[in-house]
């Protein structure tokens, strides 16, 4: 079985990853880490750089967790990428991090978490940063 975690290099993302690792250990599932970018701007700070990915890789390896890390840049938004991955791997669980958004911010930007919560076919575990 597979657990999908939506990762971003922020406290929320880290919290989600930590939780996902714990879940993966419990059920000895494969952990699929998704860190995507729309790739439509020169700069995207939510797209993890090589060092970040390397350190996650090391962390998962030392904990002995079967894992795949994917960084799709296909012009899709993060919610679509996570949902796609979950469907494709028949995931048992999706783990995401929540951050506080103002109502206005949500109105303009939409909410990735909300979309995942509403559209996922499997249970979704939403965690907040420490």
């Amino acid at each position: 079985m597979t657990i999908v975690v939506g990762y971003v290099p922020t406290p929320e993302g880290e919290a989600a990853l930590t939780q996902a690792i714990a879940e993966a250990r419990k059920s000895s599932s494969t952990l699929l880490v998704i860190n995507s970018s729309r790739g439509d701007a020169l700069v995207d700070n939510r797209y993890a750089q090589e060092q970040d990915i390397q350190s996650i890789e090391d962390r998962l390896a030392t904990q002995g967790i079967d894992h795949v890390i994917k960084q799709p840049v296909r012009g899709h938004d993060a919610a679509a990428e996570v949902l796609d991955a979950a469907e494709e791997h028949n995931a048992e669980l999706i783990v995401i991090g929540l951050r506080r958004r103002t109502p206005v911010g949500k109105l303009i930007m939409g909410s990735v978490s909300q979309r995942i919560l509403l559209e996922a076919d499997c249970p979704v575990l939403a965690v907040k940063a420490g």
């Binding site: 970018s37 729309r38 790739g39 439509d40 701007a41 020169l42 700069v43 995207d44 700070n45 797209y47 750089q49 840049v73």
Partner: protein
């Protein structure tokens, strides 16, 4: 010399509320386009040309001056925070600047770049105010033969010395000269290269050519090669420097200025060579040579100052002789022509108030850049997250709008597309665009001087070297045409040279 009183009059003009507002707009716009990927000051001035025809020339040039200096400033911000220098002149800044930023000293790197730019820009502008009238005094005594020689020198120098392939430079120059031929010959009234098309009889509008090459060509080129991996911008607070940073920065600023100004003022000096020289010098003189390659503040302070002093230097031949030596100056020169103002040595006497207001606004713009932009740095970094579709669609939209509004002819848009495609092709195959633009702008003037010269000598070619200055310049041209041989040897040795730069600086890709 009444430089002082002219300059004070210039300040009086530049500080009227309206003109001051344009200076502020120019500075902010310039910084924004300097930060934004794919946009540069030359393109921005080109895009704004049509819009500014409705303004007073003075106001327009005050705004252009702000864009020119602002663009330089914005460029250094991205090279420090992203390590993606947009122009060859900020490659060197990126080496140490980005290392500093990665070590958590982004604020200091930005501060030394900003304050250094201010210091160098102010000294450079002062030198401009002092030197330009002297150059003019010397230039007004020159006759057509010398003037022809000087223009030829400027064209050949830019073509032969800048860029990596001399041959491709000359190819671009030839294309530019051909484009400049289109239209009615001013002496005989004959139509050249119009192909019976009445719309071509007035020649190709320089605005349309500039917008096509700088905006449309560039937008299409970037669209074809969009960076696929998103980058990280290093988070930064308000730039500031400690006492130690000041101590380590002020000498590199001054030395950088000394390198930058003369190179900028030379017909083909450019900003790349002085920034590199400054970097090497600082590395040699530094008390902390071990920090070089790991984020030495001197390596940001010196080259940034050199870069900005060169920018001021570039304006000296532009204003005093009507000779542009970089893309932005070329487009600004096109703007003069657009306003019906004849560039050249007579500019200072015929358009004195405008020129001095422009110079005064350079001082003001410099100060504004420092005051407005130091606190805004984090905001500029945010600008990099603007989705690209809007950026490049916007460039095409405003390019079309601008080119169309000049004559309200759809035909101009066809020209815009054709020349835009030419600009794309040139970028693809490494033909530099600067010689082309210079050819378009200077070609007709060059022909005019040639015909005047030979008219005076009744067709005797010896008239071309009838003035001692002209002879001297032909000798310099000869040297320049031979110099690339030496230059090639230097370039061939570059691999050894570039060990001065850290191998993983990421600058290698840009060392054109």
């Amino acid at each position: 010399m009444d430089v002082w009183s002219s300059l004070m009059d210039g300040f009086a003009t530049a500080l009227t509320p309206m003109n001051f507002l344009y200076a502020v707009i120019g500075v902010i716009l310039g910084t924004a386009v300097g930060v934004l990927p794919g946009l540069g000051p030359a393109m921005t001035v080109a895009l704004l040309l049509p819009v500014t025809y409705a303004l007073e020339p003075t106001s327009a040039f005050i705004m252009f001056a702000g864009i020119y200096y602002g663009g330089m400033y914005g460029g250094s911000t991205t090279s420090i925070l992203l390590n993606t220098p947009g122009e060859s002149s900020s490659v060197v800044t990126a080496i140490e600047g980005n290392k500093m930023a990665k070590a958590g000293r982004a604020a200091q790197a930005l501060a030394t770049a900003a304050i250094g730019s201010f210091v160098a820009g102010t000294i450079g502008t002062t030198l401009l105010a002092v030197c330009a009238p002297i150059v003019v005094q010397f230039a007004v005594s020159l006759g057509s033969p010398s003037y022809f020689a000087i223009m030829l020198l400027a064209l050949l120098a830019v073509t032969a010395v800048l860029g990596s392939s001399r041959l491709r430079g000359f190819a671009a120059l030839a294309l530019g000269l051909a484009i400049g031929l289109v239209g009615i010959d001013s002496v005989t009234g004959q139509r050249r290269l119009t192909f019976g098309q009445p719309l071509l009889a007035d020649g190709l509008d320089i605005v349309v050519v500039a917008v096509a090459i700088f905006a449309v060509g560039e937008a299409l080129w970037v669209a074809a090669h969009l960076r696929r991996t998103p980058l990280h911008v290093i988070p930064v607070g308000r730039p500031w420097m400690g006492k130690k940073d000041w101590q380590r920065s002020w000498k590199p600023w001054l030395r950088g200025t000394v390198f930058g100004f003369p190179f900028g003022a030379l017909p083909a000096g450019g900003a790349e060579i002085p920034t590199f020289l400054s970097y090497v010098t600082e590395k040699r003189l530094s008390k902390h040579p071990e920090e070089f390659g790991k984020g030495a503040i001197e390596g940001v302070a010196g080259p940034e100052a050199a870069n900005n002093a060169a920018a001021a230097g570039t304006l000296t031949p532009m204003l005093a002789l009507g000779l542009p030596t970089n893309a932005t100056a070329a487009v600004m020169l096109a703007a003069f022509t657009g306003y019906g103002i004849q560039p050249g040595p007579q500019l200072f006497s015929s358009e004195g108030p405008l020129v001095w207001a422009l110079i005064a606004s350079l001082f003001i713009g410099n100060l504004l850049l420092l005051l407005i932009n130091l606190p805004l740095a984090p905001l500029w970094a945010k600008l990099l997250q603007l989705p690209r579709p809007y950026l490049y669609a916007g460039i095409l939209f405003f390019a079309t709008l601008g080119a169309y509004s000049v004559n309200l002819q759809a035909f101009d848009l066809v020209i815009l597309l054709v020349l835009g495609a030419l600009g794309f092709m040139m970028r693809r195959f490494g033909l530099p665009v600067l010689p082309l633009i210079l050819g378009v702008i200077l070609g007709p003037r060059l022909e005019g001087q040639l015909r005047k010269t030979l008219q005076l000598s009744a067709g005797d070619p010896a008239g071309l070297w009838s003035e001692p200055i002209a002879v001297g310049i032909y000798i310099i041209i000869g040297l320049i045409l031979l110099w690339p041989l030496a230059y090639k040897l230097i370039r061939r040795n570059r691999p050894q040279n570039s060990s001065l730069l850290p191998a993983n600086s990421g600058a290698a890709d840009y060392s054109d």
